[in-house]
Symmetry: C2
Subunit: 312 residues, 2 copies
């Protein structure tokens, strides 16, 4: 069996590859991304490619003839989508459309995991928590609009064209190797920098904000299970069912490192209208696949500390 991972040079891809290898012994995994492959790339083959190029995507599908497709490629930053909404839309919705259209044209029989985002829920009432898949999407950023369109296209390609697509609404995930564009990794990086410099200043945004965080390795296991047991056309939250505040994470990092930071709020990190609490309901994923998150928050943070310590 052959598996294609888009966004293969991204944070999630190596974990997804490992999760799929564990679940599908003998699976050959191909990756694609816009950049050349980094040295020691852990997949069978890497094909550099701009997914915005429809003909190139067609060539990719015709060459790999995948049985499984994990679509991780995304310009996944909400704040970047406010700065460059047109590019964000191309690099979410249009690239996904090129992918499923190429699969349709090739008549390639495969199962596609369309990775989406909790941002699709957008603004909601506190009484809607935990967020369940039956809530209508209410996208509140260019990024979220693009992700909702991706999910709607998944439905149309499944029901109208007979493709086999599953969608996730993946909530925040974190782990070693994550870019410091994301809040937890930025915090861990700062703690490790404190160890080195002796400076104790920690720059933060709104620390009361609460999010539903899952270890990226648990997320990868959920994706593999969805390939095995998910329903065609299904939509699944991938989340823990609990939320933690940024303040709690700082507290935990403080005890794990033994460092007491001086917290400084940077107004540039405050987002007007930010949703204060997001919790997802993982009930459907659990009922369908048996999945439960297994890695405790402290372990993930420890692994992230070790990873940032290993960086120059």
């Amino acid at each position: 069996m052959d598996c294609l991972i888009t966004g293969a040079t991204g944070f999630v891809a190596p974990f997804a590859a490992q999760g799929l290898r564990d679940a599908f012994p003998g699976l050959r995994i191909w990756g694609t991304g816009p950049e050349p492959a980094p040295p020691g790339f852990p997949l069978e083959g890497y094909l550099p490619l701009d997914l915005k190029d429809q003909a190139a995507v067609q060539g990719l599908i015709d060459r790999v003839k995948p049985d499984l497709v994990v679509h991780l490629a995304s310009q996944s930053s909400v704040s970047e989508s406010w700065r460059t909404p047109v590019e964000s839309f191309y690099n979410n919705t249009n690239i996904f459309l090129n992918l499923v259209e190429a699969i349709r044209r090739a008549g390639q029989r495969c199962r596609v995991l369309s990775v989406g985002s909790s941002e699709e829920y957008g603004r909601h009432a506190a009484s809607d928590l935990p967020l369940t898949e039956t809530l209508p999407p209410n996208p509140a950023s260019p990024y979220a609009v693009a992700r909702v369109a991706q999910a709607h296209l998944s439905t149309v390609y499944t029901e109208g064209f007979g493709l086999d697509i599953l969608c996730t609404r993946s909530f925040n995930h974190f782990g070693p190797g994550q870019s410091d564009r994301f809040v937890i990794s930025a915090l861990v990086r700062q703690f490790v920098a404190m160890e080195r410099s002796g400076d104790r200043r920690l720059t933060v945004g709104n620390t009361a904000v609460r999010r539903d965080f899952t270890d990226v390795r648990d997320v990868a296991r959920a994706y593999a299970l969805l390939f095995q047991k998910g329903e065609r056309g299904g939509l699944y939250n991938v989340c823990s069912g609990r939320s933690h505040s940024i303040a709690e994470l700082i507290q935990t990092l403080s005890s794990l490192t033994g460092l007491a930071p001086e917290i400084r709020q940077d107004p540039a990190l405050l987002r007007p209208g930010e949703v204060m609490d997001i919790i997802g309901n993982p009930g459907r994923l659990h009922a369908t696949t048996g999945w439960m998150p297994a890695i405790p928050l402290e372990q993930t943070l420890n692994d992230m500390i070790a990873w940032w310590r290993s960086q120059p």
Copy 2:
């Protein structure tokens, strides 16, 4: 005041232009479309342009500096969107995104009417009729997905970027000059052809299908009223609140022309899974603007018969 109409060589544009001139005396109207302007084009100026070209759209906004923008440009055929989903998406969502992004970048203060479609409602229960704006969208074709994304982008650009955009969900509209890609115009064309040929065969699809039809001149008046009285960020059905079956329309055309057709069903015109009845609730539009449809069905059909008779 200056008004820009996209999709200016389309069916609706001349009616929209007339409706806006009636509502805003002295309004200068500029049009744009992908083709060269047809001879005798009834606007102040026509600028041929591919709305997929972001730089060209920016130049258009910088040049016209519109106070009002009527976004009619759309690859608006559902069946065509099933044949060429990628192109349909570009020619709906991406062109709209280019337009509002150009307005945002220019800092151009203007009111934008984002014309959408009843197709955004998609599949629904008969108990949901008449369809109201509070129903969540459930798009069932590539075209409908693209239109929902356009409406979501409108919300994001209004709430996040401060633009002044109103959205419609426009139901079926019809009138003289409409392409025979649309069902009523195709029927009228066939009746006029019968008059000429003596042949009485009328090719139809499913004549039990019911749709909510509004004369294009009433639709144009609704758009002008929305510019005057619509709420920023508002979403408005444009519809009559009643549905007619294709069989009823054939009956009326038969009495208007005095011709008794021999009806032949063409299986190629049947659409699997087609929604049997669509009725919109025009209550919000009426409450906000006082609009009511004014032109009786028979008059529209008579005008369409006269128009098709005038064609070679």
